[in-house]
């Protein structure tokens, strides 16, 4: 039987859905486990060490050993902790980090004899809003964990997490506004399709939005240089100081789960998701049919799905996500942690105004392009790339002047004061040493 270009239906839809849920959940958990290993190995290479290489070939079984260890370790419950919330917090953190992956398409639709299967668990009409809602839910678990531990360091970590999440959520949302203006829709499949139709990935026409998004995503996932909630050197380990065994592991899984989701989102929103260069893999649902695009006269061009296309596009998606995961790790082991006031001033004084201004700029540019009748296509993308390029260069030029986030700049007033104090002290010492020795009575 030939594959048909209609959505899978009947009992097979349930089978396909079960398989997708199981498969993607397993995939995310495995990727999370191996990201922990990758983090340890890559950090080791960066520091000229070897990293864990004893368990299995190249240490590939290390995550399994870690899992067994975490299950077998003792669960501690601080005597003064609020028991219910203490146990609730890891759950509240873990669940949002895993469910956000449900709306991210991982490959081109797969044709089966019973119909075409979308390679996404739930292609929700609210798409990116669902991701934003659930990813910001995780902060409740962090704050609750810090508060329920009844430990001042954990509490400080929780407080910092809440402040940081709220601050960067704003810039994150605003940087996404430009993506929404481009696609005119919030579903992630539509975003991928619009990038295919544009002929270029949104990282180019929305370069500044991508920079803002990646910085905000680092802050949202509490990774260095924004890991204020953990801040080992200041707060022990912050909000999960009092946690042990599998509850601690739940926090770690959620952190890495957020990393995986954020990487997948960066790939989807700005690097075309599963889209690979060329138009051979274009596929989109339109009016109950899987189409590849529109002809010049407005008629639809039917898509030509194939299992090898699904496989290849999944490979592309995995490669993009893996790239951003490596960037996450690479940045973590390079940049030192920001000071807390630097995090706040970067979030509110730099990211927010820049994102707002960029939204206005891109809205104007899109309006002008639409008014003068430029068709949605490569030329449209090039024009926006030029506008964004100018904005990005201006932004980098402004940041690079050293007035915003350098430690030296923040201490400018202080340094002058210290200099004057030191000068006064030196003068006093000089005056005392030149005085004649006091006569002893």
């Amino acid at each position: 039987m030939e594959p048909t270009l209609v959505p899978i239906g009947g009992v097979w839809a349930y089978v396909a859905m079960s398989a997708k849920v199981t498969g993607i959940f397993t995939l995310v958990m495995v990727v999370v486990a191996y990201t922990t290993l990758a983090e340890r190995r890559v950090s080791a290479w960066i520091q000229d060490r070897s990293g864990p290489n004893r368990v299995g070939p190249f240490g590939l079984l290390q995550p399994i050993a870690d899992g067994i260890k975490n299950i077998l370790k003792e669960e501690t419950l601080p005597a003064t902790a609020s028991k219910f919330f203490f146990i609730l917090a890891p759950i509240l953190v873990l669940v949002p980090s895993l469910v956000t992956f449900a709306v991210i398409p991982i490959a081109a639709p797969l044709p089966t004899p019973a119909g075409v299967v979308d390679m996404v668990i739930a292609d929700l009409p609210i798409g990116i809003l669902y991701v934003l809602a659930f990813s910001s839910l995780a902060v409740y678990g962090i704050v609750l964990g810090g508060w329920a531990s009844n430990n001042k360091y954990a509490f400080l970590g929780g407080l910092r997490a809440s402040a940081q999440m709220v601050s960067y959520e704003v810039a994150l949302g605003l940087s996404l506004i430009t993506v929404l203006m481009m696609t005119g829709n919030v579903t992630l499949t539509e975003m991928i399709w619009q990038q295919q139709q544009l002929g270029m990935w949104f990282a180019f026409p929305l370069s500044l939005a991508f920079i803002l998004f990646i910085v905000s995503a680092f802050a949202e996932t509490n990774r260095l240089p924004f890991d204020m909630p953990e801040a080992e050197s200041e707060l022990i380990t912050g909000y999960h100081t009092e946690y042990s065994a599998m509850k601690f592991s739940a926090f770690m899984i959620s952190e890495f789960g957020h990393m995986v989701t954020a990487s997948a989102l960066m790939a989807t929103l700005f690097f075309g998701g599963w889209d690979l260069p060329g138009s051979w893999d274009d596929a989109f649902w339109y009016d109950g049919q899987l189409i590849a695009g529109f002809a010049a006269d407005g008629s639809v061009i039917l898509a030509n799905p194939a299992w090898w296309k699904t496989l290849l596009t999944f490979g592309g998606f995995a490669a993009k996500t893996a790239f951003f995961l490596v960037v996450y790790i690479w940045v973590r082991w390079t940049l030192p942690r920001f000071r807390y006031d630097q995090v706040m001033s970067l979030g509110w004084k730099v990211m927010l105004p820049t994102a707002l201004g960029y939204v206005v700029l891109m809205a104007g540019a899109i309006l002008v392009l639409d008014e003068i009748g430029v068709r949605w296509g490569f030329g449209y993308g090039l024009a926006l790339t030029a506008v964004s390029g100018v904005a990005t260069v201006a932004f980098v030029f402004f940041i690079d002047r050293g007035r915003t986030i350098t430690g030296a700049a923040a201490q400018l007033g202080q340094r002058v004061e210290i200099k004057s104090i030191a000068a006064a002290r030196a003068a006093a010492v000089a005056a005392r040493t030149t005085q004649p020795a006091r006569q002893e009575g």
Binding site: W45, Q47, D48, T334, I399, D400, G402, T406, R415, R425
Partner: protein, 166 residues
């Protein structure tokens, strides 16, 4: 006594850049990430050659017929600064002295090598060996048979006429 304030010579804020510093740092770590300097010795698989004068687990030298060379003169327990050697000497029919009990507590031993230096018949030696971990403390007391079984090379003594060991 005045308090001295050390002023750090920091670059002027106008000439510093977080971005450029961050990017050069990223470049440095990237070079190490793709081409890490190999400094780690994978210990159980790769062994370092011990120095000829490395002083480790003791060895008791034996005669060709398997008897220990020790004549139970009592010099090593006397000289031992850690007091870790227990020696009970005996005498056979021909009047040859031999050790009835010869035990070294490797846990107490400080591996100074003075037992080897003082031995008149070159019987007890410290050896070029260090992997002597055990599961119980009792196992660290080596008796005469165990000292004779040790297969590793014994340590070269420092030779005053050849101080660099050439």
């Amino acid at each position: 006594m005045s308090i001295s304030v050390k002023l750090m010579q920091r670059p002027a804020p106008e000439s510093t850049s977080y971005l450029r510093a961050a990017l050069s740092g990223m470049a440095l770590t990237f070079r190490h990430m793709i081409n890490p300097v190999k400094v780690t010795q994978q210990y159980p698989e790769e062994q370092t050659d011990l120095h000829p004068r490395w002083r480790g687990t003791h060895v008791m030298e034996t005669h060709a017929d398997g008897r220990p060379k020790c004549v139970a003169c009592g010099l090593c327990p006397t000289v031992c600064p850690a007091n870790c050697i227990r020696l009970v000497g005996g005498e056979d029919d021909q009047g040859n002295r031999y050790p009835i009990v010869y035990e070294i507590d490797e846990f107490r031993c400080i591996f100074c090598g003075m037992c080897q230096e003082v031995c008149p018949v070159e019987a007890i030696h410290v050896g070029r060996h260090f992997e002597n971990a055990e599961y119980t403390r009792e196992r660290f007391v080596y008796d005469l048979d165990r000292l004779m079984e040790q297969g590793h090379a014994s340590t070269n003594l420092w030779d005053p006429s050849d101080p660099t060991g050439e």
